[in-house]
Amino acid sequence: MTASPLPEALPTTWLPRSVWSQALRDGRRTLIGWSVGTALVGAMYSSFYPQIGGSMGDLTRSLPDGLKQAFNMEDLGSAAGYLGSTPFGVVIPLLALFHGAATGARAIAGDEESGRLDLLLAHPVGRVRLVLQRYAALVTGSGTIALAVLLMMLAIREPADLGTVSPAEFTAQCLGLALLSAFFGALAVCIGCFAGRRGLVFGTTAAVGVVSYALNSFGPQIGLGWTRHLSAFHYYLGGEPLKHGFQWADDGTMAAACLVLVGLGAWAFRRRDIGL
């Protein structure tokens, strides 16, 4: 045996010490991908504003009111109105939704299905602690993506003629974005805590997300205005943070929903068999 006199030097790289930091480290490449991708897609759509913002305003004037309302196109002429339609109304939140669903499905159900959870849960880590730390890593990821989008928006704000939206208003919208992703993440974690099937969890969460989007956009058109209160997208976009700044009531509702979902999940996870 080669017993080196110097104990093998402590690794120079930073090594994770907790379930939270290990989850972040394992998922760092994926998270960088999500952040860069979402920020770039957001920037691309937002930077069309100078070219189509003004003219679209004229173009959409002839469209039926209902349609304009559904797609948030009532006010394409202003920067805030334009940003609230396609970029922050459709593309970016849907990416955030899928980030939450995919990461949340992996956090518990994916690891359970692959058998990896056995090892962690045979260590002195309580089940509730595992759920909370995995979810905390997910929220950290959601925040990182939202921050990347925010930084990108602040960078293109002047060049893309978006100066009428203040940095605070962008921040408010990105906070909502982080909460939206965290909400669907919480939903996925919660379902995963009941049923450890990754495909099922991702599918259900994505379906709930798409239905929520539809409820918020089209519910009012078909006389179901009240249904938008069931939709996470309503709390994300309804208060129009790009125009009116921070919507603390909406943000608080989202955060509370996240806590309830994760709490419910952790409760269920404590009670059931692992790996079935």
């Binding site: 093998e8 690794p11 480290r25 056995d118 002195p124 790996g275």
Partner: protein
């Protein structure tokens, strides 16, 4: 002395599928306990019940004096576990994985991790994804043994290991016993367990078939006996003796297989003039085949 593991009528059903049926079993402190059974017998089920990964549908388990359900964190702190299908995130390096798991246990001196990995011939630098099955299993062994737990629960620990590493593993188990620690290990085959185990349990279809010391099992095992006489002997005279089977006579030589006490055989042989006697080592594996096949091995063997 309190028991390290105490199972009382422990039962587990998966929906309508049988997992484990009323298992009652004690494992003492400091004992190396072999847990044998064919595929689907319920070995992994038992082990996962001990660790609170799954919950019993009946009866109870007490491990290190704790109820796994209530004190799982405390129990996990004091045990080392190697799963039957040990899997870890392939994106981590071996070093990263071990240091993370050590951190979950409140930290383990880096030296100790390196020394154990060295002993098993496990490299620390590669990504887990790139490891062969055997090397992955070594990683599983390191994480189970490195914190020197009071109780080791190992599900098929030697699967995928080459004979040299299997030897190292057996050394580790012997050292654990020398330190007064308890080892509970499952296996399909007797040979690897009989080398270290104090006692062995055999289960089949979720039920305990037998539990005994290796020495006692050996006494019960089937062995082949060869007798030489000065003249020919009638085979029928021997084939009806209790415990005797497969009698064949070739000239003055008689071969047969005997389970349990050889008393009747010796007395029958003594009626003739015996010129030679040859008795092979008992084949424990054979005993297990009996148990595995019909589960009635116990009755047949002890009928002698």
């Amino acid at each position: 002395m309190t028991q390290a593991i105490r199972l009382e009528k422990l039962a587990k059903t998966y929906g309508r599928r049988r997992g484990l049926v009323d298992l009652t079993l004690d494992v003492g402190h400091g004992e190396v306990f072999g847990y044998l059974g064919p595929n689907g017998a319920g070995k992994s089920t038992t082990i996962r019940l001990l660790l609170d990964l799954i919950r019993p549908t009946g009866g109870r388990a007490t491990v290190l004096g704790l109820d796994p359900r209530v004190d799982s964190v405390e129990l996990h702190r004091r045990t080392g576990y190697l799963a039957g299908d040990f899997t870890v995130d392939g994106r981590q390096t071996v070093r990263e994985c071990l240091s993370f798991l050590a951190a979950l246990r409140g930290g383990i001196p880096e030296r100790r991790i390196t020394a154990l990995a060295d002993r098993l011939g496990l490299e620390l630098a590669p990504r887990i994804r790139s490891l062969s099955k055997g090397n992955r299993q070594k990683l599983g062994l390191v994480q189970a043994f490195v914190h020197q737990p009071e109780l080791l629960i190992l599900d098929e620990p030697t699967s995928g290991l080459d004979p040299l590493v299997q030897q190292v593993f057996l050394e580790l188990v012997r050292e654990a016993r020398a330190d007064g620690r308890t080892v509970f290990m499952s296996s399909h085959v007797m040979s690897e367990v009989q080398a270290v185990a104090d006692r062995v349990a055999i289960i089949r279809e979720g039920r305990l078939v037998t539990v005994d010391t290796v020495a006692a099992l050996r006494e019960r095992a089937v062995r082949t006996v060869e007798l030489h006489f000065d003249g020919t002997v009638p085979a029928e005279e021997f084939s009806r003796l209790p415990g005797v089977s497969d009698v064949s006579v070739e000239g003055t030589r008689l071969r047969c297989r005997i389970a349990g006490s050889p008393d009747a055989l010796v007395k029958a042989a003594a009626r003739h003039t015996v010129t030679g006697l040859l008795c092979e080592e008992p084949d424990l594996e054979e005993l297990f085949f009996e148990y595995y096949r019909n589960g009635a091995g116990h009755d047949r063997v002890t009928a002698a």
